[in-house]
């Protein structure tokens, strides 16, 4: 064997030990709540974190475990924990290290659910956030307070598509000894591995491109294993004794997997946002073809960009691969294979034209998701980002006429033909 397996090999094999009893080639779906212990000593040692193993599927499950190890391998992380959704992953990661009185510095250009979590929900529990324009690097440093415990952002901002300067922000985090967590949903590890650029934690909504088929909701937190939790007294949940496990010091015992262990030991046990084995199986099937799908997503995206840029009814098109995009240079640096398959564009004729387009476009599905094998469209201002205020909408780079397009894997001619149907319906609002 070569010293290290490559991405495509890991996508297919990582984490799975072939079932010894029946030799099942696909990962079995261990649809069980619990596991028979061979003896009391084994049972107590699993509960006391003395050894690996499964006790109860809220905490861990063999099928989910394969997915976790596969994603950890693809990201280059030391450990991963899967959750019921991407939002659950974000929540579990934050609560693993932040408590009442703590503060987050976050990019202003994020999924509306993330903004709502940090702006509306977490403050009820005493955790506050300051939002910073992702292109304002100095702004991240200026927003840091004594109680700041986390820097958070999406590598490809949703839906404005500004690219985070990972190395610059990781440097700020390092200077202040604050971990830098990246929502890597839009890029997947095939396009960029944030740990290679200094990030300390990543999360994904694996519902999206990782799973890729719109069949299962899921999330994951990946521990980069590259943050020194014991260097200061700022992270007592990791570096000080944890009473429920006989005073275990996770940092001392588990080192590069301490953060992930805290999530499993606390969030999965006490909050319980576990991923189902069936969903893990479906998501594993998706990951097996991740690179193939991403390559097709990217090639279709480039063709759709060309189509939209040359369409007389399109007022503007935004994608980081376009030289006109403000993040074009950063996209070339961090996403050399391609800057993802989300495109934002405006239809001439404003909100009404956009509405007519969405209701009449063919093939593209009007729904609140991205990263499906099928092409998806939505109007963010009235849907995914409707729960954030006007000021936050502007900060997130969302305009009234914006349509978010998640380019799928259909034949490009059929896709463009379907778009023409939408443009025909929108024509009357464009003054033509």
């Amino acid at each position: 064997m070569s010293d290290f397996y490559e991405f495509d090999t890991l996508s297919l094999h990582a984490g799975q030990t072939v079932d010894k009893e029946f030799g099942a080639r696909a990962t079995p779906i261990y649809q069980t709540t619990s596991y028979v212990f061979p003896d009391t000593d084994t049972a107590s040692s699993i509960f006391n974190l003395e050894r690996g193993g499964h006790a109860y599927s809220r905490i861990s499950n063999p099928t989910v475990g394969v997915l976790e190890q596969r994603i950890a391998s693809l990201e280059g992380g030391s450990a991963a924990v899967c959750t019921a959704s991407g939002m659950a992953a974000t929540f579990c990661a934050i609560t693993a290290i932040l408590s009442q009185g703590d503060h987050i510095v976050a990019s202003s250009q994020m999924y509306g659910g993330n903004i709502s979590l940090m702006k509306n929900t977490l403050p009820r529990f005493g955790i506050t956030a300051t939002f910073v324009d992702p292109t304002d690097i100095d702004g991240f440093g200026k927003a840091i307070k004594d109680n700041t415990k986390l820097i958070y952002g999406e590598l490809i901002g949703n839906p404005g598509l500004d690219i985070l300067d990972l190395e610059a922000i990781a440097k700020i985090g390092s200077q202040h000894h604050i971990p830098f967590m990246v929502d890597a949903t839009f890029n997947t590890p095939y396009l960029c591995r944030p740990f290679d650029f200094g990030a300390n934690i990543t999360m994904h909504s694996v519902t999206k491109w990782m799973g890729g088929h719109g069949a299962a909701i899921g999330g994951v937190v990946v521990d980069g294993g590259n943050f020194d939790w014991g260097a200061t007294d700022k992270y007592p949940t990791i570096s000080e004794p944890y009473a429920p496990f006989q005073g275990i010091n996770l940092w001392e015992e588990f080192g590069p997997a301490a953060f992930a262990t805290r999530i499993r030991a606390e969030a999965m046990r006490d909050f319980g946002p576990s991923m189902s084995p069936m969903n893990a199986f479906l998501l594993l099937q998706g990951i097996e073809t991740l690179s193939l799908r991403m390559d097709k997503h990217l090639s279709n995206t480039m063709k759709m960009l060309d189509f939209l840029q040359n369409h007389k009814q399109v007022s503007w098109v935004s994608h980081p691969s376009l030289p006109s995009h403000s993040s074009h240079a950063l996209a070339k640096k961090y996403l050399p294979k391609g800057a993802g398959s989300i495109v934002s564009f405006g239809v001439k004729g404003g909100r009404d034209a956009g509405k007519a387009f969405i209701e009449n476009v063919e093939l593209a599905s009007h729904l609140a998701n991205v990263g499906d094998a099928k092409t998806l469209i939505i109007h963010p201002a009235t849907t995914t980002h409707s729960r954030i205020d006007a000021q936050a909408l502007v900060a997130a780079g969302i305009t009234e006429d914006m349509i978010r397009l998640s380019v799928g894997l259909e034949d490009i001619k059929d896709l463009q033909s379907g778009f023409e149907a939408g443009f025909r319906a929108a024509r009357k609002f464009a003054g033509e």
Partner: protein
């Protein structure tokens, strides 16, 4: 816990229990470039079964103050100083790779302290490829890649393992990056220079156990069998499917073997 050895601040995990020198002690020794977390799937087990556990980071490794030690003999002396400072007694040594060379020296020179020795993935000597030493001195990332690449067997490289969600290969890289600069090179040079293995092995008179791996590319079975030949009446086990990193790749099998051996040869009340 942190404690002082020869004026330097040293870290050792005690497996989640306070170190108690009235109990028999199990000391786990890590290999080149590694640290205490390498034994995490063994140390806590013994700590919760009436043993005092000590898993030190050798000087210059992860949490222990440097500089790194430069010979196997000096590491054995340092270990004796650490044991003395903690008044540890009835010691079972469990060692991996480079740690086995330290264990050979320690157990042969400080016989009164030692109740048993378990050698995991080692021979009498550890000759090191000059390209690896050169990389450790001049291109640490390349050296870490070689160590991790050669160290783990196919299961490790496929990120399999009994701890849900954990990638032992990635964790291995992170651990090696946490050492002070030069620690890996110092370890490898110390291994390469060590030549007293035969004499030391012959001088050990406590019960000994040897656990080898069937797919070890760093300490091949042939080298391990040479160690077996020079020890007095060793208990030999071979874990066929594991690579060199037995404590991580085959933790359940190796823990059971260690448990049975230590419980039998160094029982705790």
């Amino acid at each position: 816990m942190y404690f002082d050895v020869n004026g330097k601040r040293i870290f050792a995990t005690t497996g989640g229990k306070k170190f108690d020198n009235s109990l028999p002690t199990v000391i786990f020794l890590h290999g080149s470039g590694l640290d205490h977390t390498f034994w995490g799937l063994h140390s806590r087990f013994f700590a919760f079964r009436k043993y005092s556990v000590l898993v030190p980071d050798f000087p210059g490794h992860t949490h222990s103050e440097g500089p790194p030690l430069t010979s196997i003999e000096s590491m054995a002396d340092w270990l004796n100083d650490a044991v003395e400072s903690l008044c540890a007694r009835d010691i079972s040594i469990v060692a991996h790779s480079q740690g086995c060379l330290v264990a050979l020296e320690f157990a042969s020179r400080f016989k009164d302290r030692v109740k048993s020795v378990s050698f995991v993935a080692s021979g009498l000597a550890t000759p090191v490829n000059s390209a690896l030493i050169d990389a450790a001195e001049n291109n640490p990332e390349a050296a870490i890649a070689m160590m991790v690449g050669w160290g783990f067997g196919s299961a490790g490289h496929l990120h399999q393992g009994p701890v849900p969600g954990n990638s032992m290969v990635a964790a291995g890289r992170k651990i090696m990056r946490s050492n002070v600069p030069g620690a890996l090179a110092a370890d490898l040079k110390a291994c390469n220079a060590y030549s007293n293995g035969k004499t030391a092995a012959a001088a050990i008179d406590c019960p000994v156990q040897v656990i080898l791996a069937g797919k070890d590319r760093m300490a091949p079975r042939k080298a391990g069998m040479e160690l077996v030949e020079h020890l007095h009446n060793p208990e030999l086990h071979i874990i066929q499917e594991s690579g060199h990193m037995i404590p991580q790749e085959a933790p359940d099998e190796s823990r059971l073997l260690l448990r049975n051996f230590i419980f039998s040869n160094n029982p705790s009340g």
